[in-house]
């Protein structure tokens, strides 16, 4: 059947009165003859279907008289015909979203491409727009092998989205009486059938007749249909604390119970509570109109995402609870602000001080709320919203795992120190990184720790110290608890978030590096870790000269006869500590023999080194001052008074060490003072000054 034929037939189906020929001529801009031909064709179609035909009523026009059941059946058939028509972009987007969210079978894009008869690039553009639309609701569109397109997001957001999209695309849907048939309505019929709406309507009449307003009734039915369809697809609300816990016996509750009976389903309690709560919001007593209902939901989703992004507090973990509270609050807020009702928040200043970061994040979001209210939001209202978030913060904190990183100082021997650290780990969230003696206090700053527990009296002021008996008694438990709460801000969040993104980013970086570690790869990884809130000890990764050069690696006033001997001498401590292998020493000497004295890199300074693969076990450096300076054969910089031995493990980890050496080379006066120094402490003082 042609498009026009279908349209004409529709007119007859929906009209209870005769239609005149002249009206049809006018409507379709065509001749009476053409219309008559169309009518003939329609009648042929009707007779094939064994339905009554269109009759010519003298002087009144034409009429088609059908029983209600015949009407429904015929309209449905026409919908199928209509389906073969070309869909425009807007309708395709509508269909795609419904198909992803309500379709009974998995949706694959290649099938949709065929179904719509459009090119891949058109569909790609459709999908781009779909993604954009859904982002506003906090929903992601994922393509999963074998499952097709899947929507990812909080179930409640998805349901709100479907409802909102239907309202926007189809307008108010009526399940009673006839309605003008639109393309989008036809699309909707595929996913939520008119029969389903009708059935729900019957149940509604039985249990909820007291609610009069037809607009509410229709929207409530559509929402119920969305809920039911999602539930039947087994897309369920995450089972978690449902804040609106009390669902008293009410007509809405009866309605839901009737639905469960009629459809023979028994949803979990959380689903029942959800739908009862949602349907209650249609009750016009709380709200002026349902547009605000959707806006408030949308705003609460967006507000939560916004605050989470700004404060980096994982609010989405308590999403169900927070969103519900926010949503209810926003509904009230929008109404208050619109009606110019100002309320004072006595806690405002207090909230600003204690939850400044959340407060300012919400404050930045207020323009979006003001778009809805059309009026300014007061600071008092922002503070009220902050309360919702701050309540969640403490709930989130209970779930999150915090630890303190600490070091234990103990002179009673390793075993006692170990015992204390085990106890600290077991009784409190304390991770002990090392057990040190009181002579090793200078190691503390090299460790990534926040607190110090000591069994001896120590002089240390950089970090909080708690003196303790090696064995933890009841009394010391209280002291530890107090100590921890005093230093609460030092506690660290244990990252147990999903690290999938990090994983892919790492794979990406590894691919880019091609196996080559370069300076930019170092930087890239550092940034990546930073973005994922993972702390790395930068001192460990690219340590400073003073972090690596140990006292035992400083040799002063050495007597050597040849340059080869000077290299051997300076590398002795590193060989002894197995930082380097003897083969590395040979390689350093051979390198000078082969390429010349280029290791003399500055006036009176030599930097002996070879390749990591020549025998380096870990990053290390040693230094020797020479009693009677040695000629290396470098006309620029001879004779050598100070020789360093560098053991590098790659091309970049010794960056900061090299920086210190370059600074030294450019300071001849310092080189001179160092070469004459005989005391290790003073040598270090000059070197690091």
């Amino acid at each position: 059947m042609k498009d026009r034929t279908v349209k004409i037939l529709r007119i007859f189906i929906t009209s209870d009165y005769p239609v005149s020929l002249s009206k049809l001529e006018e409507e379709f801009h065509t001749s009476a003859r053409t219309i008559r031909n169309e009518l003939r064709e329609i009648n042929q179609f009707l007779s094939e279907k064994k339905l009554p035909e269109i009759k010519n009523l003298r002087k009144m026009g034409y009429q088609l008289v059908l029983a209600p059941s015949e009407k429904t059946a015929l309209l449905e058939q026409l919908d199928l015909v209509n389906d073969e028509h070309y869909l425009d972009r807007e309708s395709r987007i509508f269909d795609l979203i419904l198909s992803f969210s309500l379709g009974k079978k998995a949706t694959f894009l290649y099938q949709k491409e065929e179904e719509y008869q459009i090119s891949k690039s058109s569909l790609d553009e459709d999908m781009r727009r779909v993604r954009n639309i859904l982002t506003d609701y906090g929903i992601e569109v994922l393509s999963v092998p074998k499952q097709g397109i899947v929507l990812q997001g909080a179930e409640r957001s998805i349901r709100t989205m479907i409802y909102d999209i239907i309202n926007n695309s189809v307008g108010v849907i009526s399940s009673q009486g006839e309605q003008e048939v639109s393309l989008n309505r036809t699309i909707l019929n595929h996913y939520i059938s008119p029969q389903l709406l009708k059935k729900l309507d019957q149940l509604y009449v039985k249990s909820l007749a007291s609610m009069e307003d037809a607009i509410y009734r229709n929207q409530l039915l559509v929402f119920t249909a969305v809920w039911l369809s999602r539930y039947l697809r087994e897309d369920l609300i995450a089972s978690s604390v449902w804040e609106a816990a009390d669902t008293p016996q009410s007509d809405i509750r009866d309605f839901v119970t009737a639905i469960c009976e009629a459809f023979q389903i028994s949803p979990p309690e959380v689903e029942i509570k959800y739908i009862v709560f949602m349907l209650n919001t249609f009750n016009s007593r709380d709200m002026n109109n349902s547009i605000e209902w959707v806006q408030a939901q949308l705003l609460s989703i967006q507000l939560m995402q916004f605050v989470e992004a700004k404060t980096k507090i994982p609010f989405s973990r308590k999403e169900e609870m927070l969103q519900e509270g926010l949503y209810k609050h926003l509904v009230g807020l929008i109404n208050r602000v619109k009606s110019d009702i100002q309320i004072v928040n006595p806690l405002k200043e207090n909230i600003k001080n204690n939850y400044g970061n959340i407060y300012s994040a919400i404050h930045q979001f207020t323009p979006s709320i003001e778009q809805v209210t059309g009026k300014q939001i007061t600071e008092d209202e922002v503070a009220f919203l902050t309360i919702h978030f701050s309540t969640s913060v403490s709930a989130i904190n209970q779930d999150l795992h915090y630890i303190y990183k600490a070091v234990v100082i103990c002179n009673h021997g390793v075993a006692t120190g170990k015992l204390l650290s085990e106890n600290l780990k077991e009784l409190f969230n304390i991770e002990v990184l090392a057990v040190l003696s009181s002579r090793e206090l200078d190691l503390i700053e090299k460790l990534d720790v926040d607190l110090i527990f000591s069994t001896v009296a120590i002089q240390y002021s950089q970090k909080p110290v708690l003196e303790l008996e090696p064995i933890i008694k009841e009394e010391s438990k209280k002291r530890i608890t107090r100590f921890l709460s005093e230093n609460q801000k030092l506690k660290r969040l244990v990252n147990n978030q999903d690290s999938t993104q990090l994983f892919y980013a790492l794979i990406d970086t590894i691919g880019k590096s091609g196996g080559e570690v370069s300076g930019s790869i170092y930087k890239e990884l550092e940034t990546l870790f930073d973005q994922n809130h993972l702390t790395i000890n930068k001192k460990e990764i690219q340590p400073m000269l003073e972090d690596v050069l140990k006292d035992s690696n400083i040799l002063l006033n050495e007597k050597v006869a040849t340059w080869e001997e000077s290299i051997r001498r300076v590398s002795e401590p590193l060989v002894a500590e197995e930082v380097i292998e003897p083969s590395y020493v040979t390689a350093m000497i051979d390198s000078v023999k082969e390429y010349g004295p280029y290791i003399v890199i500055g006036k009176h300074i030599a930097l002996a080194h070879a390749r990591p693969e020549d025998g380096v076990n870990q990053l290390g450096i040693s230094v020797a001052t020479i009693n009677s300076p040695i000629e290396f054969g470098n006309e620029e910089n001879d004779p050598v008074k100070i020789i360093f031995c560098l053991a590098a493990i790659d091309s970049y980890s010794h960056l900061n060490i090299m920086k210190s050496l370059i600074a030294l080379i450019n300071d001849e006066e310092k080189v001179d003072r160092l070469s004459r120094e005989t005391d290790i402490e003073r040598f270090k003082e000059i070197l690091y000054s």
Binding site: Y595, G602, N637, H654
Partner: protein, 102 residues
């Protein structure tokens, strides 16, 4: 700013003096606003280098002469003092000018 150049710093091991030279040169390049991609390698790797400029110590000259490096494409700078900024400035700037990096 001129076009980007790649500069390779070379020494026997590709870790110590070449790294030191790179850091000294970095300062020079920053002063003159040169956009350069820097790296440091050992001499055996440098033989197959495709960079615009190679900077190395005077004593490697004999080695480099054995390599078949196309001096039209890759300019080689030999330094007496590989961390001397004045020397780097003096020898590198004319080359950067011919390469259009200034």
């Amino acid at each position: 700013m001129g076009k980007q150049v790649s500069i390779l710093f070379v020494c026997g091991a590709g870790l110590g003096s070449s790294f030191a030279a790179q850091m000294a040169a970095e300062d020079v390049l920053n002063v003159h606003g040169v956009d350069a991609k820097l790296d440091h390698v050992d001499i055996s790797t440098a033989a197959s280098s495709q960079s615009d400029i190679i900077i190395t110590a005077q004593n490697f000259k004999s080695q480099f002469e054995k390599f078949s490096i196309d001096e039209e494409k890759t300019a080689i700078v030999y330094l007496k003092n590989i961390v001397s900024k004045p020397e780097i400035e003096e020898k590198l700037l004319p080359i950067l000018e011919t390469k259009g990096a200034l």
